[in-house]
Structure formats: structure tokens, C-alpha cells
């Protein structure tokens, strides 16, 4: 009997294996959960694009066999914004790390959430800049060590779900790589959600974060999640800060409706011009709105 192929063989670029992630790193698990969520969502894979920034998680785009874009550090969200608005039929997923999305890319995150661009942003949070050797990141818990805070971190980190919530994200969830099935379900929900959805995935980084903080291996971190995760759906996101080696509140925190950027644009223009306006992204480029350019010309 021949061994059957791995079920993800077709959606992973296995010709690029072995992948770059360290032993007991959880990014691969997050990828599997994402694919499971994608399958559950029923969205045709052809419509799905993955955009990543830079870092360990930035490499995710390169391993998933969808149209995928590995962009510059911090700019995955604006690139994805252009991709989505360039062709609104696409389902655009930003899959990147905490440093990429929230330090160098933080401004883009808050604005995309504010505008409610129809994107799914998945943040793999491993609490440090791993690819570059374990420096302080915007999510490094107070007291944790990193190469650039060798005596422990004193620099207040972000509470990511609270940030996403405050900026207007319509769907906010947090899981760890241990909660694979719930994570997959959440990712499926996020993909189906119209608007800016955000899922934080707490992920073990054994080589750098765990080692530098003497937390053992990635398996030890998984055991830590096992013992210390508290599922609290609908939790007030102000209460879900992560403290160093303290319990982690996980769950689906926000699920609400809000008009997306493009819907707001189309609705507004229809209010202004009525039927003469062809909604963007729904019909071709022709639009019969009367020319008012002579007046504009003098402007």
C-alpha cells in the first residue's frame, strides 16, 4: 500500500520544504488552522490572497499555495488594502507577526480597522522579533527579557484585541496554537465576516523568547497555555492584557456589524448621485454620471 499524500499537500508549497520555522515553533500550526478555517468557510480558494510582511510569520505567504505576496516590513496591510480595493471580489488575508503588524506597521493597522477595510488580519504573536534574534517587540510582556531589553522589559506592550476593538474591527478573537480547533473555527468566522476581522494567535517561540526567558521548549509553552488559558467569549477587551507568565484570556471577544469602507463609499455616492452612480467593484468601469468638469476646471 502506498502512503497517501498529506491532506494539505495541494495547498502548501511543499516543494519549498523544509520550511524555515524552528522546531516547536507554532507558526506551522497556525497555518494548518488557517487552512482548516478556510475549508470551513467555503470560500473558493481561487479568490483568496495571502499578504505577509517581514519576519518569521512574514514567510507564511510563501508556503501557502494561493496567490501570495511577501511585501515589505510593516506594509502588508496597505498592500492588502490596495489588492482588495483593486479587485473587491478577492478575499484578502494578512498573515503576519506582532512586530510587523503593530510596531512598524501599527499605523496601517489602526487605519485599516478604522476604515473597516474588508480584510482578515491574522497576527502570529510570539512576543518578540524572532527572525532577527529575539529583540523587544510591541507585545513583549513587561518583565520579559529580549536582546534589546537584557535586564527585562519596562516598555509597556500593546493589548492587541483592545487595540483592534478600539479601532473598530468587527471581529476580534484570540487563541493560542494549542487551541487548534477553536482557532480554525475562529479563522473561518473571520474569513466569512464582512469587514476588518482580527485574530491574534499566541504562538511559542522556543529558540528565542522561551530560551531567553528560561521558559523551556515550545512544548513547555504549549503546556503553559494548556494550564493558563482562560476562555472568556465576549470578554471586555480592556481586560485581556497579557502579563508575563500570567493566565491568558482567549476567546472571541468582538463580533459586530459595521459598514465597510467600500460599502460606505458606494452608499454615499449613490446618495449623492442616485442611479447615475455605478457602485465600484460591482459593475464595469462605465459610469453615466454627468460631467461636471467644466465647473471643476476653474477650481
Amino acid at each position: 500500500m502506498t502512503t497517501p499524500a498529506h491532506p494539505l499537500e495541494n495547498i502548501l508549497r511543499t516543494e519549498r520544504f523544509p520550511h524555515i520555522w524552528c522546531p516547536t515553533c507554532g507558526i506551522g500550526t497556525a497555518v494548518t488552522a488557517f487552512v482548516a478555517g478556510l475549508e470551513k468557510s467555503g470560500i473558493p480558494k481561487r479568490d483568496v490572497c495571502i499578504v505577509s510582511g517581514i519576519g518569521c510569520s512574514g514567510r507564511i505567504a510563501g508556503y501557502i499555495r494561493l496567490d501570495s505576496f511577501h511585501t515589505t516590513h510593516g506594509r502588508a496591510i496597505p498592500f492588502a488594502t490596495g489588492l482588495k480595493l483593486g479587485n473587491p471580489k478577492l478575499r484578502v488575508v494578512v498573515f503576519s507577526g506582532d512586530g510587523d503588524l503593530f510596531a512598524i506597521g501599527g499605523n496601517h493597522f489602526i487605519h485599516a480597522a478604522r476604515r473597516n477595510i474588508d480584510l482578515t488580519v491574522i497576527c502570529v504573536n510570539n512576543f518578540n522579533y524572532a527572525m532577527t534574534g529575539g529583540q523587544l517587540g510591541p507585545t513583549t510582556p513587561l518583565g520579559a527579557k529580549a536582546t534589546t531589553v537584557p535586564y527585562g522589559n519596562y516598555d509597556q506592550p500593546f493589548n492587541l484585541p483592545h487595540l483592534a476593538d478600539a479601532c473598530g474591527a468587527v471581529y476580534v478573537a484570540r487563541w493560542t496554537t494549542l487551541h487548534v480547533r477553536r482557532l480554525a473555527r475562529s479563522l473561518g468566522e473571520a474569513l466569512q465576516k464582512r469587514g476588518f476581522s482580527f485574530v491574534e494567535v499566541i504562538c511559542p517561540c522556543s529558540t528565542l523568547y522561551a530560551r531567553r526567558n528560561r521558559l523551556g521548549t515550545g512544548l513547555d509553552l504549549m503546556r503553559f497555555y494548556h494550564r493558563n488559558s482562560v476562555i472568556r467569549h465576549g470578554a471586555d477587551t480592556r481586560q485581556v492584557d497579557i502579563e508575563f507568565q500570567k493566565p491568558i484570556v482567549v476567546g472571541r471577544f468582538v463580533d459586530r456589524e459595521r459598514t465597510t469602507y467600500l460599502d460606505a463609499y458606494n452608499q454615499h455616492m449613490q446618495t449623492v448621485w442616485g442611479d447615475r452612480f455605478n457602485p465600484y467593484g460591482e459593475i464595469g468601469a462605465e459610469s453615466p454620471v454627468e460631467d461636471q468638469d467644466k465647473a471643476a476646471e476653474a477650481g
Binding site: 508549497r13 519549498r16 481561487r46 479568490d47 490572497c49 499578504v51 505567504a61 510563501g62 499555495r65 494561493l66 496567490d67 501570495s68 505576496f69 511577501h70 511585501t71 515589505t72 510593516g74 506594509r75 496591510i77 496597505p78 498592500f79 492588502a80 488594502t81 490596495g82 489588492l83 482588495k84 480595493l85 483593486g86 479587485n87 471580489k89 478577492l90 499605523n107 496601517h108 487605519h111 469602507y261 463609499y265 455616492m269 448621485w273 452612480f277 455605478n278 465600484y280 467593484g281 459593475i283 464595469g284 468601469a285 462605465e286 459610469s287 454620471v289 460631467d291 468638469d293 471643476a296 476646471e297
Partner: protein, 386 residues
């Protein structure tokens, strides 16, 4: 070549400034996605686009900054749109990183820099030509770029279309290097019938899904594009990559990848470069200029001729790639080049490089905030001829 979509073409004679002409050029070229951030003196382009796009099925988005604007137009290009952003010096600096991504991923789009005086915030409302070397070398790493310099509102229209066409033909971000003077100067701009405006269509791959290689070159070294969402499952990265777009960080792949980025422009340079010249055959002195300075130089050239100098004039419409060969050839038979520019020596260095000692190069610098007094240029011509 295709014909322009009449929906975007404002056929007729207009009295408009360079910024508005640039916006109309983009519309005529088929640009239907614009991401930008307001910055003087380029804002009027964005404003015009914002007013016009909803009527032609385009989408304008004001982003949070220029980093985002540049990233967004790259994304939109891969979604199938013709896309553009517009900025000035400080924003141009912020765009550099993702201009590099556009070059590495060979993404067609247009970036307009309406130059003002710098460095830093400098002179927001006054002209400069100090970004010319930044246009060439501003993003890190090695590459070739295309940059065009209009000297009138009419050319702001024409060259914006040309910039889009070149971006499609050579699959890269093309820079339109305007300046505040040209951007804010109002003149007659004639926009022809749509069917007379030639548009280079995107060169799409039409093979079966799964077989597309985003970086496999055609005979002119330019690879074909694909749109996201058509089942090709392609990968695009800013890392050094092979023809499939897969990262491969080795010197061998770097050599192949970057050499082609450079060669696709260098080997096609003769087809890309446009210059305007006058009386080069008999010239002893050649005035080399670009953008607004090329207009300001003309009265000086006329006066010098009246005074008996044999002066030729060479206007660079395409500044990058630089017309190396032409300058080298001229250097072998003229006494000197006079290069007026609104900076302290950028393109003059290129002229000097190509002249390689065979002819003198006289820079006529200007710090920015105004254009040259033609008198300054005249004096330099006289000095060069002496």
C-alpha cells in the same frame, strides 16, 4: 497598443495647471486606482482624481501616509488595476522603500513627484529639482528606473500617459518628476480624441492556471503579469527570487534576478529615452536641461546665439535612464556642456561622467525656490564658449 477608454478622456482644449493635467493624463491612460496622501505642491492631482474617479469607475483612497500609499498602489496593480500615487519630496522619501518593492516585484504603476525645495520640509510651495538623484538611487540596492520630466502642463498630461505606457511595457514603477513650477503653472492643454491616445495594455499571461511564472522573462527581458484571483497561485516577494517568485537567497539567484532588472532597462534604453534637441550639429556648447529649467534656458540660448555663440540645446524628457551614449558622442565634438538645474549639481554629474574629460561640464546651480535667471545661464554659456 490600444486606444484610450473614452470614459476617462476629457477631450478638448483646457486652461489647466500641470497638476490637473497630470490627473487627466492618468485618467486618459486608464488609471482607475489612486492611493495618496496630501502634500503640497502635489495635492491638486489627488483632489482632481478624487473628483473625477467616481464618474469613471475608479477608486480614490486617501491613505494614512505615503508608505501606505505606495504599498497600496502595488497591491492594486496585482489586482489588475492601473494605479498611481502622487507626492512631493518628504513623501517621496517615505515611498522609497516600496518603490524598491515595486522594482523587485516588477509591478507596473506610476509615481509622481512634484518637486519642491528641500531638504526636509524645505520650501513646500516653491520649486526645486533636488530629487533627481533620489529618483535614480533613492531606494536601496541596485536597479534601473525610468523617470520623465515634463516642462509644461501639456507635457504633464502627455508624459503621464507615457509613464503608464512605459510602466506596462517594462513592468516597473515609472517616475514622473514634475516640479512645483510646472505643477502650479496654468496653460493651454489640448486633450485629443480617445481613439488617438495610444495606451500600452498590460502584458498578461494567457496560459493555463498553474503554469504561470511571474518572473520568467520574454525576449525583451520583461516577464508577463497575472491578476490575483485567477487560479495561478503565484507568489511574489521582495526577497531575491527565482522565476517562480520563490525566495532563493544565493548570490547566483541574485545575479540572475537583479541583472535582469537592470538589463531590461539598459538593453531597451534606446527605445525608452526621449530627448529634444536643437542645433546640436554645429554646436560648440550644448546646454543640457530638463523640466522647467529647459524653458528658462531657451531665452539664454537665443541670446547667446545672437551674440555669435554656437550653442546647441539638449532637453532631457527621459532623465532616467540617462542618455549616456548621446552625451558621450557630443562630448567628442563640443567644447563644453552647460547644465542649469535647480540643485547644486545632480544631473550635471551624469553629464560630467559621460563626457569623461572630453568636454568641460559647467554646472549652473540654483538652490531652489525659484527658477534661474536666464542671465545666469547666458553667462555660463559665454564662459563655456570662451
Amino acid at each position: 497598443m490600444e486606444r484610450a477608454d473614452p470614459a476617462g478622456v476629457l477631450t478638448g482644449a483646457h486652461f489647466i495647471d500641470g497638476d490637473i493635467a497630470c490627473a487627466e493624463g492618468a485618467l486618459a491612460a486608464g488609471c482607475r486606482f489612486f492611493a495618496g496622501y496630501p502634500i503640497t505642491p502635489s495635492t491638486e492631482v489627488a483632489e482632481r482624481i478624487a473628483a473625477r474617479f467616481p464618474k469613471v469607475g475608479g477608486l480614490f483612497i486617501q491613505m494614512e501616509d505615503e508608505l501606505a500609499s505606495m504599498a497600496a498602489i502595488l497591491g492594486a496593480a496585482w489586482a489588475g488595476s492601473k494605479s498611481m500615487t502622487v507626492t512631493s519630496g518628504p513623501g517621496f522619501s517615505l515611498m522609497m522603500e516600496n518603490i524598491g518593492l515595486g522594482l523587485m516585484t516588477e509591478t507596473p504603476c506610476v509615481v509622481v513627484d512634484v518637486q519642491r525645495g528641500g531638504p526636509s520640509t524645505g520650501l513646500p510651495t516653491l520649486p526645486g529639482q533636488g530629487d533627481m538623484m533620489q529618483a535614480r538611487w533613492g531606494s536601496h540596492g541596485d536597479y534601473e528606473i525610468i523617470a520623465l520630466c515634463p516642462n509644461s502642463p501639456q507635457e504633464c498630461f502627455d508624459l503621464t500617459i507615457e509613464a503608464f505606457n512605459l510602466s506596462e511595457q517594462y513592468r516597473l514603477p515609472v517616475l514622473l518628476m514634475m516640479d512645483e513650477c510646472v505643477g502650479h503653472m496654468t496653460e493651454r492643454v489640448v486633450i485629443g480624441e480617445a481613439e488617438r491616445i495610444r495606451i500600452s495594455p498590460r502584458r498578461y499571461y494567457d496560459g493555463p492556471p498553474g503554469s504561470y511564472h511571474p518572473f520568467r522573462p520574454q525576449s525583451d527581458l520583461v516577464p508577463e503579469m497575472a491578476r490575483a484571483g485567477e487560479g495561478h497561485n503565484f507568489h511574489v516577494t521582495g526577497l531575491t527570487h527565482d522565476e517562480r517568485g520563490y525566495p532563493d537567497v544565493t548570490w547566483q539567484t541574485q545575479e540572475k534576478c537583479v541583472r535582469r532588472l537592470v538589463d531590461k532597462i539598459r538593453r531597451n534604453a534606446d527605445r525608452i529615452i526621449q530627448c529634444e534637441s536643437d542645433d546640436l550639429e554645429e554646436a560648440e556648447v550644448v546646454v543640457v536641461s530638463y523640466g522647467i529649467t529647459s524653458r528658462v534656458a531657451l531665452p539664454a540660448v537665443s541670446q547667446a546665439r545672437e551674440a555669435g555663440c554656437r550653442v546647441g540645446q539638449l532637453r532631457l524628457i527621459t532623465v532616467w535612464p540617462f542618455p549616456d551614449r548621446l552625451i558621450r558622442e557630443l562630448a567628442s565634438r563640443v567644447k563644453a556642456f552647460v547644465v542649469p538645474e535647480i540643485n547644486y549639481g545632480q544631473i550635471s554629474l551624469e553629464v560630467e561622467r559621460c563626457a569623461a574629460g572630453a568636454a568641460r561640464t559647467l554646472l549652473v546651480p540654483h538652490g531652489g525656490g525659484w527658477v534661474h535667471d536666464p542671465e545666469q545661464i547666458l553667462r555660463a554659456i559665454e564662459e563655456a564658449a570662451a
